[in-house]
Symmetry: C2
Subunit: 294 residues, 2 copies
Amino acid sequence: MIRKLAVIGVGLIGGSLARALRKAGAVEQIIGCGRGRENLEKAVELGVIDSYSHDIGEAVRGADMIFLAVPLGAMKEAFAAMKGKLAEDAVITDGGSCKGSVVEDARAVFGGVPARLVPGHPIAGTERNGVEASFAELYENRRVILTPLAETDAQALARVRAMWEACGAEVSTMSVAHHDEVLAATSHLPHMLAFGLVDTLARMKENDEIFRYAAGGFRDFTRIASSNPVMWRDICVANGPALSKMLGAFADEMNELAQIIAAGDGEHLLEVFSRAKAARDRYVDGLQPDQPSE
Amino acid sequence: MIRKLAVIGVGLIGGSLARALRKAGAVEQIIGCGRGRENLEKAVELGVIDSYSHDIGEAVRGADMIFLAVPLGAMKEAFAAMKGKLAEDAVITDGGSCKGSVVEDARAVFGGVPARLVPGHPIAGTERNGVEASFAELYENRRVILTPLAETDAQALARVRAMWEACGAEVSTMSVAHHDEVLAATSHLPHMLAFGLVDTLARMKENDEIFRYAAGGFRDFTRIASSNPVMWRDICVANGPALSKMLGAFADEMNELAQIIAAGDGEHLLEVFSRAKAARDRYVDGLQPDQPSE
């Protein structure tokens, strides 16, 4: 049981955690923290949080669990604001989609990674934002990745794991570096391709006409290009090394494919497309729809 | 009114045209042609066609409208099979998603592009195949592009246009080269990215794990990688010049993006992502779902 949960950033991700823990009877008191008064008052009105503060130091006072659901670019500032204000048994975790930068930010602020910081990432989300988009079932049967370090306290890890399991999520652990590689491949790279494709077409002459002839497959393919640009800027900066490496490798693959196509090598093309279709049909069709990766 | 329609290839595309014209009362008699007896018998049973033949020369006899819905790789053989068997008033059109190769194939077989050949491309489809997947409403409010040449007979063009309008489609015309560029951008390139991404991930070590952490956004993004590999091999070979050029340009863009990310240039990233989001929200959200481009 969590005595007092502080949710820093009460939007879709933070709000859904609060709702899920409340529904599971796994939390006594929830305080929200953020900049926008209107969103926080709405959160109280909806019963997602009990009270709120605009001050992080104030919000974490007496909290035994702190969940950071702020953009990656705001993590460092949030750590700095809670430094020296934490309860002795306070466990900190977060929902950022890159873990290396969060660990680095914590190290810079605290002069070392706190033993009671458990970096985490729920692989869940929708395209909507704000507390009104949050719902208690968001994490049910979704995967949550935790990336404990050598210095992470085993009990803190167990508490964060239990928190996510109370929300119905499936928790696994992996190293920070491995998480960032896996997410670069399955989420960050696809977002770059979608943003890049739409941008390429938007910059072409007669782009109005081009988009007019795009059909439904294009709509699905580019849906993730409608994601929040600020969030994605932060993710790219945070996961720069893994992502730029993967983008470069993908560009090489596309150049290779361009050569195969220019050479009219149908046999080679059939091999690539068949392998891709088999992998896609095998691995991806079992996934549930309407849950864009974060 | 079409007196006798010959549909060469009675699958989703050909079958839906037959159903739509029948529903509109715009055709008297429909003969289907294909290799698979079972599919053709099903088509008769469903009332999509009146009769069938496995022989193209036989099927086009007396037909005043011939619709070729065969893979691009089979167009040349189909033209050769109907050569010398065509009625005097026969108009030929097709549904291939690359027009340059169709025109080339016709020129090679007939020693020149027949005046009564009107190359066409309905921008519609679903992921399903076969006559049982066909339905009369497939082309309603969809775009059909016709690419007449200088030598195309005006009356033949008017008849093909009227045929598609009877199906509820919105018909426009453009040059063969322009069509192939537009489709390379909006359909062929996205398919290459989806096939390429899934193939890249499938070839990574621990690809099982990678796919396991892919969320719903990945599912949407890669849906088109489940398309028919043979059809896409044919399209790539047919539209090789336009597509390989566009792939090369996209690879350059991805390399540029990799450099921006590696340099941590957040301002530049925000500019690209915002421009892409604005274009996507503006142009693409109005499209109807579940209609992958062909």
